[in-house]
């Protein structure tokens, strides 16, 4: 190996970088003990809340992504598998309040998570404001990317970074590709929802 050489623990003690390092030192000493203790299971049970409903899922394969969990195991097919590589955004869902690409998240890592998909955004028969805005502004053509676009827009509005600035809306939606090219309508739809609720002074500043 090149680069900085290992420092003996005794030398590290003098540095006193913070509490994390004291915990780290203890952890390093204990590592050989845990090496024997960590075991792997053949089946994994995870508990997730999906669109408000608690679900226990038993997985026999650790390779299942959150997207495959939703689509193939829970039969929630709104989130789409476009590229399956985090490049198109069609699989966007909201996990613990944050929009993420479901294709690049392991289902196992989601144990305990609160997941919102497109199937959970309408209340009874009433569309969510973002859904309604997408219809009103013709923000789709074929519709394949639309669930991801809508979930991403909900995430963007929640983050509160774009406000009424079209350029920041476009930047904030750049993780979602639309091959039909409905971008103008998508930007208008997001702006129509964000405008009434955005605090103008802070967020509208260029």
């Amino acid at each position: 190996m090149t680069g900085a050489a290992f420092s003996p623990l005794s030398l590290q003690l003098k540095d006193g970088i913070g509490d994390g390092d004291r915990r780290g030192r203890a952890a390093c000493r204990d590592a050989s003990h845990f090496r024997r203790e960590v075991t792997t299971a053949l089946e994994f049970a995870i508990d997730v809340t999906v669109n408000g409903e608690p679900r226990r899922v038993v997985l026999d394969d650790p390779r299942v992504t959150l997207l495959d969990l939703l689509r193939e195991r829970l039969h929630l097919t709104g989130a789409k598998k476009g590229c399956d590589r985090g490049q198109c955004g069609a699989c966007t869902v909201i996990v613990n309040g944050r929009r993420i690409n479901a294709c690049l998240a392991l289902a196992l890592s989601q144990d305990g998570a609160d997941i919102l998909t497109i199937e959970g955004v309408a209340s009874n028969d009433a569309l969510s404001p973002v859904q309604a805005a997408f219809l009103a502004h013709d923000a789709l053509q074929c519709g394949f990317c639309t669930p991801g676009q809508i979930m991403s827009a909900i995430g963007l509005l929640k983050e509160g970074q774009a406000g009424c600035d079209p350029e920041r809306v476009r930047e904030g939606m750049s993780g979602n590709l639309c091959r039909c090219g409905a971008y103008a309508g998508i930007t208008e739809a997001v702006l129509s929802v964000s405008a009434p609720v955005a605090p103008p002074a802070e967020d509208a500043r260029p």
């Binding site: 190996m1 090149t2 680069g3 900085a4 290992f6 420092s7 590290q12 540095d15 970088i17 913070g18 509490d19 994390g20 390092d21 780290g24 030192r25 203890a26 952890a27 390093c28 204990d30 590592a31 050989s32 003990h33 845990f34 090496r35 203790e37 960590v38 075991t39 792997t40 994994f44 394969d61 650790p62 390779r63 992504t65 590589r85 985090g86 955004g89 944050r98 929009r99 993420i100 690409n101 690049l104 998240a105 392991l106 196992l108 890592s109 144990d111 991403s152 995430g155 963007l156 983050e159 970074q161 079209p166 350029e167 476009r170 930047e171 750049s174 993780g175 979602n176 500043r205 260029p206």
Partner: protein, 352 residues
């Protein structure tokens, strides 16, 4: 994707133990590793999921004035941490110019630093790649070299490190805290990533089983807050890796530059700290002519790979422009978005 064992350690000790098993890989946000696994470019026998480890998700100011960023802090959380962004605006700007909002919500600080190259020949399993298969050769040289390096490359490998985040961190002398089976250590971020030489598959100075715990920015780095920028030039306005980027930071007193940092991204296998350029600038007046001279110094050793010579001139322009932007001053709000063909404010200086 290969089948793997999955473990979710609850403590650093457990993680280090699990990580010492042959073929183990550490998983954090997963945005890079899972992609590589799907493509068969990574095939760990065991995935050690670090996401639930305690104590690695905080941004804290230490007694020394240094700021310590836990390795599991999400890219988006760090960029939108108002105190952090005010102290290190170029770092926040770099974070927000990388990837997409969804990816930034999942990707972590440690994972960003350790992300693999996006060299298309590394990703193409039909192509020869010394990084992917040591000794197999490199098909990039005679091929498409738009994204390849112009500094520090070797005949064995011309791949670049794709991180935006690491560029201002290296400019500001960030230090990486590391835990491993044999103890704790730390090193400057500048020495973490290796140039390819004859062993491009050895990408970092980390040893098997080591975990990045945190990145630390020294307190002195805060002095650059009023004049710090990150400028990224890419093939589209958003959601693309840099062709060339630059982090520039200045301290100007009485009309003269008293301290300066310049680091380039997208041009080498590591963030390229341009100390020769910094030497040109200390004591000088901050003007366009001197910034261009500094940029010339930064790229004096640059050599093209195939047809990518345009990146040398582009890097000079990006470096001198980033310095000019830093001299103008950090804008009220970062990121000031890059120039956009759709922008109604393309002539607004804050937007480049």
């Amino acid at each position: 994707m290969n089948r793997f064992n999955y473990v979710r350690p609850q403590s650093l000790a457990e993680a280090l133990g699990a990580g010492s098993a042959p073929g183990a890989a550490f998983l954090a946000g997963g945005t890079n590793l899972l992609d590589l696994m799907k493509l068969g470019l990574a095939a760990p026998a065991t995935l050690v999921d670090l996401a639930r480890l305690p104590d690695l998700s905080a941004v804290e100011t230490l007694a020394s004035g240094a700021v310590r960023i836990g390795a599991l802090v999400k890219n988006a959380d760090l960029a939108h941490d108002k105190t952090f962004a005010a102290a290190f605006p170029a770092v926040a700007e770099a974070l927000l110019s990388g990837a997409s909002p969804q990816l930034r919500n999942a990707a972590t600080v440690g994972g960003n630093i350790l992300q693999r190259t996006r060299c298309p020949y590394f990703f193409d399993r039909e192509a020869a790649c010394n990084k992917r298969t040591p000794g197999s050769g490199c098909d990039a040289g005679g091929g498409e070299t738009r994204t390849q390096a112009v500094l520090g490359w070797s005949t064995a490998c011309t791949a670049t490190h794709p991180s935006d985040f690491c560029v201002p961190l290296t400019a500001l002398d960030a230090v990486v805290e590391i835990a491993g089976p044999d103890g704790l250590r730390e090193m400057p971020l500048e020495t973490l990533h290796r140039l390819p030489g004859d062993t491009p598959h050895v990408e970092t100075a980390l040893s098997e089983g080591e975990i990045i715990l945190a990145v630390r920015l020294p307190g002195e780095a805060g002095q650059f807050a009023p004049r710090s920028r990150y400028l990224k030039v890419r093939d589209r306005t958003s959601y693309a890796f840099a062709l060339v980027s630059a982090a520039a930071a200045l301290v100007i007193k009485d009309g003269k530059i008293t301290d300066v940092r310049l680091c380039l991204g997208g041009v080498a296998a590591k963030p390229w700290r341009a100390r020769e350029a910094e030497a040109v600038l200390v004591g000088a007046r901050p003007d366009a002519e001197r910034f261009r001279a500094a940029a010339e110094a930064a790229l004096s050793d640059a050599r093209p790979v195939g047809g990518n010579g345009f990146k040398i001139e582009l890097a000079k322009r990006v470096a001198s422009r980033a310095l000019l932007m830093a001299a103008t001053g950090t804008p009220d709000r970062v990121p000031a978005l890059p120039a956009s063909p759709f922008s109604s404010r393309v002539h607004d200086g804050a937007r480049v």
